[in-house]
């Protein structure tokens, strides 16, 4: 039987800043680092907001003031931990159904006065199952693309 991969993506980076600073840049200044092409509104985002409380909204706002939801704050524990629900499938469309949302947990661990380990776990990816069809239809033929992506996922995951 083939080994089934866990429907989870893990990433970790070390940043040379205090833990409070790392947390602050992550949640309060998301628009300064979030890849600009990944916006879900019709226009590029100007700001990305995280309301600093459990149950808070996570959303983007464009220059005209239009807002698009990304998800919610499921747990708020500054400066060490924040958990979000993620409602965007591979099509980058918002699905309000919590049962179709995955979860992102980010942990910030101080390793020194100016050293922080940031660990991200994006789990329950299978809840974006419908998006798989879209990914699949982007492939030219069965084979090349799939293998490349799978190999990439393995390499990136294994680098942790």
């Amino acid at each position: 039987m083939p080994q089934i991969e866990e429907a989870v993506v893990r990433k970790s980076v070390r940043v040379g800043v205090p833990v409070e600073r790392a947390f602050s840049v992550f949640v309060e200044q998301m628009e300064t680092w979030w890849p600009a092409e990944h916006h879900i509104g019709a226009q590029p985002f100007e700001t990305i907001f995280v309301e600093p409380r459990t149950g808070g909204r996570w959303y983007e706002r464009d220059a005209q003031g239009n807002e698009c939801n990304w998800g919610h704050v499921l747990a708020w524990g500054p400066p060490h931990q924040v958990t979000f629900s993620w409602h965007l499938g591979p099509d980058w469309k918002f699905n309000p159904d919590l049962a179709k949302a995955s979860e992102i947990e980010i942990r910030f661990t101080a390793e020194g006065p100016s050293a922080t380990l940031v660990e991200l776990t994006h789990s329950r990816l299978e809840r974006h199952g419908e998006g798989y069809q879209q990914l699949r239809s982007m492939l030219d033929g069965p084979g090349a693309w799939v293998n490349t992506l799978a190999a990439f996922a393995k390499a990136a995951g294994g680098a942790l």
């Binding site: 970790s12 980076v13 800043v17 200044q29 996922a153």
Partner: protein, 99 residues
């Protein structure tokens, strides 16, 4: 999603899946249908039973998609956090804007 996690252990029939889950068999069937339509689950006939199993390619593709998103985002986060040392004015502006 308990069904998905149970299937990760190997192929299973509906009643096995429903057996120790706190949901009804129709609910399990409905959920399996969603996963099957999405291409994440396939089924095969085993005598009189139908066995469901995960489609490894489906999981791999979803993982690859999110892996790319976060690989890029986390690298950018790292670079931004380290290059932009605390900017007093900007930080104050933002804080007042958000409260």
């Amino acid at each position: 999603m308990a069904i998905f996690q149970k299937l990760a252990k190997g192929p299973m029939a509906v009643n096995e899946l429903a057996g120790n889950l706190p949901v009804s068999r129709p609910a399990v069937s409905q959920h399996l249908k969603v996963l099957k339509d999405a291409g994440l689950v396939t089924d095969t006939k085993d005598g009189t039973r139908r066995l469901y199993q995960l489609n490894p390619e489906g999981i791999a593709l979803l993982r690859a998609h999110f892996d790319r998103v976060w690989e890029k985002a986390m690298s950018a986060f790292q670079a931004t956090a380290e290059q932009s040392k605390p900017r007093g004015k900007h930080a104050t502006d933002r804080r007042s804007r958000r409260t």
